[in-house]
Amino acid sequence: MPQTELTDKLVIGDKELKSRLFLGTGKFATNKLIPQVMEASGCQVVTVAVRRVDPDFAEEDVLTYLSPDCILMPNTSGARNAREAVRIARLARAAGLGNWVKIEVITDNKYLLPDNYETLKATEILAGEGFVVLPYMSPDLMVAKQLVEAGAAAVMPLGAPIGSNRGLRTKELIRIMIEEIDRPIIVDAGIGRPSEAAEAMEMGAAAVLVNTAIATAADPVRMAAAFGQAVQAGRQAYLAGLGPTRLYASASSPLTGFLREGE
């Protein structure tokens, strides 16, 4: 029997995670799909826009559909600066959504690129208040180091602009961050296919966060299953230690074998 169950755990803040697929919850035709999507993919961490949480409309309130054992990561979508992000995070915690928060500060509605400077400020304040802070950011090694210093529990660089499904356009920058930063690196945004999720995991990303690619697929539940498998496969490959790729065969040392001849 091949071993398919991953046994290595991802630890973020106070939680130990089995699944390395994080799910975004906007964009679904109905939130009734969310439990099915989670079931199919095995994902445990779900991000929810605090701006959308609507207890008065239970039918579509994301929280209605989350099982008690899933880990909630409220996000500060809609925040235009650190001040608003901090307020949204506090509202979420006060509303009983836990102490994890994904910082999302976007001051650019054309490309939805995050504002790293304001994100850093918000991270510092919220980490100081005991939140488990996961900042979404434009990949930048120096900023990532400052985020860790400010108390971020993980760093979430974008693979491509949100909702663009363009894959790992920032691969080299993320690779460097994975090498240099000793906190989990979670690729958030831009991943459009399971193969791209697998690619991020093979590189050593700790997890990937996916929304558009699953929510807007013709069959979201099946696509979620595909992502679940891809993330596992990518992780397995990373743990297996991908062999270094070589240009030439190395079996017989054709260029240096003579050194050992006639010994």
Binding site: G26, K27, F28, A29, T30, N31, V50, R51, R52, V53, D54, D56, F57, E60, G78, R80, E84, R87, I88, R90, L91, I106, T107, D108, N109, K110, L112, G163, S164, N165, T212, A215, T216
Partner: protein, 372 residues
Amino acid sequence: MSFYDEVYQPIRREIGEDFMHSVTAADVRRAIGKTWLNERDYLVLLSPRAEDFLEEMAWKAHRLTVQHFGRVIQLYTPLYLANYCVNKCAYCGFGAHNKIKRDRLTLAEVEDEARAIAGMGFKHILILTGESRHHSPVSYMRDCVQVLKKYFSSISIEVYPLTEEEYRELIFAGVDGLTIYQEVYDEAVYDRVHLAGPKKDYHFRLNAPERACRAGMRTVNVGALLGLHDWRSEAFATGLHAAYLQKKFPAVEVSLSPPRLRPEVGGFDPPVRVTDQNLVQYILAFRLFMPRAGITLSTREPARLRDHLVKLGVTRMSAASCTSVGGHSETGQKTEDQFAIADGRGVGEIMAMLYEQGYQPVFKDWQLLEAN
């Protein structure tokens, strides 16, 4: 500098009157194929030539909208606070020249209305007044907002153009959205249909969205009333205005409404007929031009058409609307309607329709962030 000087005049000079009619099929195909369209591409898609490509445009518009917004439609409803008006606009039922009942809700009545509307599930409200600084001063709006904050998570205004300072004051009170239609971008027509009143000041109105953005407004929705002038040039101007605002104020959520003139008590006959096909072309062209901008659709349009437009780029719809003062609650309708609505379905019916099409109705997409 302003939209008028920076964009509107220069671009129209540069492109010229005849461009629209020189568009070829190859131009349309090229524009549809681009990821980022420029102003010229947008005009190409608004041209008569592009009418042969509506299906192709529709597929792309649908794909882009689902990609950027998901299968989600945000719902809101308008609340008319007052209909006193000092303007004489040829096309409007509230115009000062119309002999109609005038009224303004007391704060207690505002609360009744709010309770009735909130009871339907709405969280986003759009408040409207006629233009009368005497009857509906900014202080009155501010008092209404204080009441409405208890019931709604997002409050937008559709009122006469204010100064930057006044916008700031209302934002401080809890307003986060602005809707303001230029009505008609063509200056000669603007002058002709706005017979008298402060609204005659074309530029003060045109610059209002910018003043609101500078004051810190979160969402700004612009529009031209379709039917007052050639719809293609008006659609072009409105799209340019939205793009200008988005570029200058990247943190603001910019959206556009394509309202067609509806029958009203004054019996104004719109000089230009804008067909369903024209409206569809406008929505599609704008979606391709600004893939991330909102598109707001009111109940001015009939149910069947609204149902079809859901998949073509619309992101926000009103429901259970009423265009008279006090029409939502026990208070009862206190005035005539500003215009006749065409889609009179209730919230439940609109929700059922959205689910039917595989879309999620969203009542809450923002909440007021009080200092805490």
